[in-house]
């Protein structure tokens, strides 16, 4: 079997997303994929930037404004480069927060409609290396 690439993972995750699967552990060395869709329901949206792990990249608000969350902004979701995770609304001036690389959303620190301050951490992302 050929090695799995990023596109394969994204396709697989899309299938899982459309399914009713809550948890999945898939090991196809060197790939190990763990999906847990229960975490969000258990309150994974934190108010504080705590529990950071090595390799996670903090994403900060570019401006002060009100966060409008994308439906794609879910913990553990893998997203492509140039995906809009949320939009910061400053009285109608819209500032998109986009991904610069394929990544997994590891943490979300804000909720929809919340005021975010300038440079407040809003996401932790984990880069997915492209082969």
């Amino acid at each position: 079997m050929n090695e799995i690439n990023t596109d394969d993972v994204l396709q697989l995750l899309e299938v899982i997303r459309e399914s009713t699967i809550d948890e999945l552990c898939l090991e196809l060395p060197p790939l190990k994929l763990q999906v847990n869709r229960k975490q969000k329901a258990q309150g994974d949206i934190d108010g504080e930037a705590s529990g950071e792990e090595e390799g996670w990249v903090p994403i900060k608000a570019p401006v002060l404004g009100f966060a409008r969350m994308s439906p794609l902004a879910e913990v553990n979701r893998v997203v492509n480069k140039d995906t809009t995770l949320c939009t910061i609304d400053v009285l109608g001036e819209l500032h998109d927060v986009n991904t610069d690389y394929p990544c997994r959303i590891k943490k979300i620190f804000i909720t929809d409609g919340q005021m975010v301050e300038f440079h407040q951490q809003i996401f932790s992302l984990e880069k997915i290396e492209q082969r």
Binding site: L64, F66, E93, M115
Partner: protein
Amino acid sequence: MEKHISRILIANRSEIAVRIIRACRELGIETVVAVSQADQDSLPAKIADRAVCIGSAPPAKSYLNVNTIVAAALGSGAQAIHPGYGFLAERPDLPECCERHGLIFIGPKAQNIRQMGDKLFARKMATSMGIPVIPGSELVSDVKKAKGVAEKVGYPVLLKAAAGGGGRGMKIVREPKDLSSNFQEASAEARTAFGDDRIFIEHYISNARHIEIQIIGDHAGNIVHLFERDCSLQRRYQKMVEEAPSPVLTPKLRKEMCEAALSIAGAIGYVSTGTIEFILDQDEGCFFFLEMNTRIQVEHPVTEMVTGIDLVHEQIRIASGQPVSFSQDQVEISGHAIECRINAESPDADFRPSPGMITKWDFPDGDGVRLDTHCYPGYTVPPNYDSLLAKAIATGSDRVEAIEKMQAALAGFKVSGIDTTTPFHQHILKNEDYRCNRVNTSWIENVLLKEYQSLSGGGK
């Protein structure tokens, strides 16, 4: 109709933010201070109930952004915004934006700001009311026209940027031969500073005092004055020492100026605190309307100290729909107050800015001396903003006592880590011309600075 204010967003920094927080606490109002990244560790951020970061250090990216300020107020649950002075205080789009989003602007109506921000409109209005204005022109577009106007109003003349402020784009021309080069320089400076090179010409009054009348108006149409401040001691059009009352104003001139100020404010239905500025010609014993400032002034404390009226309290009450809390008959001047603006500048090096960390800050306030400041030991003065560190305000039963109290306070003021203008203020206070009121608006630059530089070896 009264509107409830329980939380105010302060759209400013430094000592005025601290001053507003103090007033809010006294009125039982919560405070949210909007801070740039450079001010996140500032005293206002520490003492306000909440601080919200609105942007990076440059003012255009933070304190000057109307939408961000209003969003910060909405998002933090404030019902009102206090703009302080400077930044957005005289931008009509802030009160307009507040109104669109159901917020109270603690200041004048947008229309008041717009009317008085147009210096030519203000001048025409004063003239139509019989209030004297300095002989001068409307906008002058070229040197040829400027020459004609200068001949008509009489030399010396002052060239002023139509969009001006802070002395930029201003030139004094004493003789016709110097007009052409100065006109071009003033236009260029105005274009660089304000993006608007329109100039107007006024007769220049050489022996002038800057006298301003504090007024306050409410939504019910009541307007009262709180007498005058004398702000004649200026360097490059920036006030350095202010006092109340003016030591040179006769009762007749005081009455006339206060009446003129009330007329101007009344004509536009002015609401909130405001200041009508006049030039007093000391040689002729007459005065001229200069302009109106539609904000709380830096030097408001000297008025507070001699009238016993808290101007920031009044601003907040009036913004919530209450009437002015006192009548004209109740306003009296008691004693004398002097304010020194202590800046982070090196007077021995041509007032070069001196940002950096304050390692020692010990000011002997009390005993008739008030200190309005945001500084403390360990605070780093950022290079991004104006250099005002503190306002020392001394109050005595008379001018001599106020000067003595200020001298004692400044002598005991210990600050390390940065340079301040304190030595220069001490030099002013001990000068016989100052003590005997033989000064005018150009005295610091024409007389005192030269003397100071020769004594200190400064001005390098």
